[in-house]
Symmetry: C2
Subunit: 222 residues, 2 copies
């Protein structure tokens, strides 16, 4: 009985997610679903990406949090359109929440939407939003063993960003061992290594975001 | 309808948690429910605590993970009894899981059980396990703004451990601002600041664990 309810919820979510996907395609928009633990640097990377791409990609942002709107307030200082989703304690975004947020954005003035999911390495992996691509950020202080313990998240990732690499000298994080572990559960994943503090690697990430957005746009117009 | 089901689940959990509480009391055991984000240092602190208290407190451990048993394997090298709970993707421990794990431990040879919850700053806060005390670890790379975004976790905490303080020189983490923020949602919380890498602050934490265990034992025997 209990499982049945859960399955129905998942099915309802998947159906709205599929609808979101078509809605985004109709607006020729790429949507990045960014997932990570609390404090992995989602908002910081979003701010850096907006700053570097401001003349190349018209970005919008959706900020998911269990409470508060500090992230949306921060992101709105960049001038890009941003909508906060406050889940009221809920541990992940879902497709209906994202649909409502999308409709509050000036979609025809945008090329891509970056969706910052709730900080959580478990639950967001189970809920499709209609995103074009799933990005998982893992900050090096979290440790290189995380794919063992949170395989669901790494299976879902299209791209894994290894963040805060400026801290590597002070930690026992083995980048190659981490990548090998991720690839063992998901052989198709693409990696970026960066630090928003030093700026190392951020340009390569931004180039990828711009290229991916252009490609998604071209495909939706084909 | 959906909410009703969720409420029933919560009620059922609370009732088993209450039963766990009596069960622990009957065995004169303190139970520490340790919650944190992935990679905040739960297992590392557990290992350091076991090592320093080995001649003072007979500890047992319960390791919660969504997958794998790497943590339990690590902890078992210390020689203390340890049980792994594999939630099969679930984002938190619940009271029935903990009950099963407790019954697999040699309770009459123990003074306290440390329960390492699933790495998640959202969901574990909603599920009582029957614990004697709730400990939340926040590692400084996660940032000092976390109580804004995850208030539920900090409201539930009896003790907040600020971990990885050896990294403070490389970060913009304001310890006093963080404490003030926690106290604004939970004025009764107690703080520890420590680094398992340098050992700073670990003795004070261990002394507290030992004292708390002795006090809980005395109370249960009164």
């Amino acid at each position: 009985m209990e499982v049945k309810v859960v399955q129905n919820v998942m099915k309802a979510n998947d159906s709205v997610a599929e609808d979101n996907r078509k809605f985004l395609e109709a607006h020729h928009l790429a949507a990045f679903n960014v997932m990570a633990s609390p404090g992995a640097g989602k908002t910081t990377l979003l701010m850096a990406t907006i700053d570097r791409l401001k003349d190349r990609v018209r970005l919008g942002a959706i900020e998911g949090d269990t409470a508060s709107q500090v992230d949306a307030d921060k992101v709105s200082t960049t001038g890009v359109p941003v909508v906060q989703i406050n889940t009221g304690g809920g541990c992940h975004l879902d497709a209906p929440m994202v649909r409502e947020a999308l409709e509050a954005l000036p979609l025809d003035e945008l090329d891509a939407v970056i969706i910052e999911n709730v900080g959580n390495l478990v639950c967001p992996a189970a809920f499709a939003l209609g995103e074009t691509v799933n990005v998982v950020i893992l900050s090096v202080p979290e440790g290189d063993d995380k794919p063992y313990k949170y395989p669901g998240m790494f299976v879902r990732a299209d791209v894994v960003v290894i963040s805060k690499i400026d801290l590597l000298p002070y930690l026992d994080f083995d980048v190659e061992a981490f990548k090998k572990l991720v690839l063992s559960v998901n052989p198709k994943v693409e990696f970026f290594e960066l630090s928003c503090k030093t700026g190392e690697g951020v340009d390569a990430w931004c180039d990828w975001v711009a290229d991916f957005t252009a490609k998604a746009k071209a495909e939706s117009e084909a």
